[in-house]
């Protein structure tokens, strides 16, 4: 009885421990080839421009290395220059804590070749410098491999995205109008106050 309870609780504990630590990035093999294409020579605009991502298995690796790949998740990731002085974008080896790749481009079932996707940059992507990375997941939804559009030091082939401002003319006008109204009503108050004081003096 007690033995069974102990077994069950240690299993639960082991499961909890296992799930609280993620896979380490340094343990992943770079077996995928990822390339991106987009309008060149200028900054890409969020909500307007497109990025085409292609990914494939690198056949120079021994056959069967990709036998446990089930899904591919392609993500938009911050380049080091956009991580400076921004702890919320920090790169950590523990993938559960890693904040490098925060935006999903596409999730697809794994196939070794002929994968391509044209992504319109979403409107909530912030202004920064980026690259693209694809993770391969096994059936337990753990990362087992990756590929990225840049080199090991994340310096080559980066591209910049410019965010939408979020401002609208109507907002600008409303802000200005309300602000002016507040200040004008203040002067109105002073005038009213003076008038009241004069009136009570004449009583």
């Amino acid at each position: 009885m007690a033995g069974r309870a102990f077994f069950v609780s240690s299993l639960v504990l082991a499961f909890l421990v296992a799930s609280s630590y993620g896979v380490n990035f340094s343990s992943l093999k770079r077996t995928l080839l990822v390339t991106t294409s987009h309008a060149s020579g200028r900054v890409l605009k969020a909500g307007e421009d497109q990025i085409t991502v292609t990914w494939a298995y690198n056949t120079t690796f021994s056959q069967g290395t990709d036998s446990n790949y089930k899904t591919i998740k392609v993500k938009l990731c911050y380049a080091p220059i956009s991580q400076v002085d921004r702890a919320w974008r920090k790169t950590q080896d523990d993938l559960q804590k890693d904040k490098t790749c925060q935006f999903k481009i596409i999730n697809k079932a794994y196939s070794p070749s002929n994968n391509s996707f044209s992504w319109t940059i979403e409107r909530d992507i912030p202004t920064a410098t980026y690259f693209v990375r694809a993770y391969a997941y096994n059936s337990a939804d753990e990362e087992v491999a990756f590929g990225q559009s840049t080199d090991e030091h994340k310096t080559a082939n980066l591209f910049q995205i410019q965010a939408i401002s979020g401002r609208h003319t109507s907002l600008d006008i409303a802000a200005a109008a309300f602000s002016a109204f507040s200040v004008v009503s203040l002067f109105g108050f002073f005038y009213l106050e003076k008038r009241k004081a004069k009136a009570s003096q004449q009583k």
């Binding site: 921004r86 409107r123 202004t127 907002l171 409303a174 507040s182 203040l186 108050f189 004081a197």
Partner: protein
């Protein structure tokens, strides 16, 4: 600031609450809105709450704002410091304005002048403009001074710390409530109107801005400076004389007690402001909770204000009843020092549960110390009540600026080390309370002066002989009379004056 020439034909006014000879209420009924006393209370805490909501509206939305405006950690830190540094000067200016123009006009003006900054937060598009709007919005925290001044003008010595504590505490609540309100407003706007998050946060800022503006309107139309009326009216009718700014100012800065309280307030309220700015990130980074949870923990720190600061004020009044001013000062020192010890502990505990528990107890002590401080402030000066309140309030913000600059900027100290060192600094900067001495009541270690100095002697000394000849000191005399309760239960040489419901003083002491 009430100085009355006793006019021969003044009508005895009747008030819904029992009052003393200055027409200040001697009872505090928290659920009432009766004019003028309780209504002033409701107006002042609600408007102060609105200003706190506006000033700390940005932190809970920072995960979105920082991406929209491309902010770095340094930008965010600087904006946080800017938000609390603007009020340093503004609080002193507000104290002066209250002394000269009355709390009603002073606070309504400040609120209306700072609401444009909140509206314009919606159109900021860079780290520089973000810093500027947080800086100017922070000026609105000077309404704290008008709140305390107003309560000190409306409520008598036996309940003034309670009134000050509840008004201050429920206003400070805004700093915690905003951590829950703004994310809620943001999601409602984004989901119901269907705008992107970079637009939704901008629209969200209109809510605190409009709330703030409306509170200013309420103060102007429903509020009243003094139980007897408004400053301008009383000044024009000759019932109140317009005091001289230079005299009031010099009188304030030459009173050493104001400076000591400014320093110590920097290490209870200043610490509270600092924690408001850093605590969500601390829990997020050290214990890896998600942003939503970190925000909720941060909110609970500020929400403790609903009872802890008022508790400090009520405790001050209870101690004063038994032990007088000496009881108020001792309790302040003990509570604030315990707060410092808990702060040291907070930086040392390593588990999430223990951290949250210590933080909650720490919040109670630190906020109670704020309430206890403003149990002593109303008695430091009668003539310069506004500027003394302003100096103390400003000292709170200076403490926040200095603490954040030394311990929570850049990567010199880890946040937990910073918190521990902040605790040490609290204990050191609370020691000067040992030096506060009122000749008519005593201090921590000494009883009242053996020369038999009375309350009248202390408060009349703020006026020179020319002014006394003109009778400007009359209100100070009344105040001195009403403050005899600060002797505690020891038998004083004069009996406690009887309390009247009508406004006529029982004996016209000249």
């Amino acid at each position: 600031m009430e100085i009355e020439h006793i006019s021969m034909d003044s009508n005895p006014k009747s008030f819904p609450l029992p009052v003393d000879s200055e027409n200040k209420a001697t009872e505090f009924r928290v659920y009432s809105i009766s004019a003028p006393h309780m209504r002033s209370f409701q107006l002042s805490w609600i408007s102060f709450f609105a200003c706190f909501v506006s000033t700390f509206a940005a932190p809970p939305l920072l995960p979105i704002i920082r991406d929209n405006l491309n902010l770095t950690s340094t930008d965010i830190g600087n904006a946080g410091i800017a938000a609390v540094s603007g009020a340093v000067f503004a609080r002193i200016a507000m104290g002066t304005a209250c002394d000269l123009f009355g709390p009603r006009l002073a606070s309504a003006s400040l609120i209306l002048l700072t609401s444009p900054a909140v509206f314009c937060t919606s159109i900021s598009n860079s780290s520089a403009s973000f810093l500027l709007v947080r800086f100017f919005t922070g000026f609105s925290l000077a309404t704290f001074v008008s709140t305390q001044f107003w309560m000190s003008s409306m409520f008598s010595g036996n309940v003034v710390a309670t009134a000050n504590g509840i008004a201050g505490g429920w206003g400070n609540l805004g700093g915690g409530a905003t951590q829950l309100i703004m994310p809620l407003v943001f999601s409602l706007i984004r989901d119901s109107i269907g705008v992107t998050k970079f637009t939704a946060w901008r629209i969200s800022f209109f809510i605190p801005a409009i709330f703030q503006t409306l509170s200013a309107y309420a103060i102007f139309f429903l509020g009243q400076d003094l139980p007897d009326g408004n400053y301008k009216k009383l000044q024009k009718s000759g019932e109140k004389h317009k005091d001289n700014f230079q005299k009031v100012f010099y009188n304030a800065i030459s009173n050493y007690r104001g400076w000591i309280l400014a320093l110590t307030y920097g290490y209870c309220f200043g610490v509270e402001l600092t924690v408001d700015n850093i605590i969500a990130q601390y829990f997020f980074d050290r214990f890896n909770v998600n942003l939503h949870t970190a925000g909720t923990i941060a909110a609970s720190f500020g929400l403790a204000n609903v009872f802890s600061r008022p508790g400090g004020g009520i405790l001050s009044d209870i101690m004063a009843k038994r032990f007088g001013m000496r009881g108020r000062i001792w309790t302040l020192w003990v509570v604030q020092t315990i707060g410092g010890l808990l702060c040291i502990l907070l930086g040392r505990v390593g588990s999430l549960g223990a951290s949250v528990a210590v933080m909650l107890v720490f919040s109670v002590f630190v906020q109670a110390a704020c309430g206890l401080t403003f149990g002593v402030v109303p008695f430091v000066s009668r003539r310069s009540l506004g500027i003394i309140s302003g100096m103390t309030g400003a000292g709170g913000n200076v403490g926040a600026v200095i603490t954040q600059l030394i311990f929570f900027r850049g990567s010199r100290y880890s946040t937990e080390t910073g918190i521990t060192l902040m605790g040490v600094m609290i204990i050191c900067c609370t020691l000067p309370i040992l030096l506060i001495y009122f000749p008519q009541w005593g201090g921590m270690f000494f009883g009242p002066s053996s020369k038999g100095i009375s309350e009248e002697d202390y408060y009349i000394s703020e006026w020179n002989s020319t002014e006394k000849e003109k009778g400007f000191h009359q209100a100070s005399l009344k105040f001195a009379d009403n403050s005899r309760g600060e002797r505690g239960k020891r038998i004083g040489s004069a009996p406690t004056p009887p309390i009247h419901h009508h406004g006529t003083p029982s004996n016209a002491s000249v």
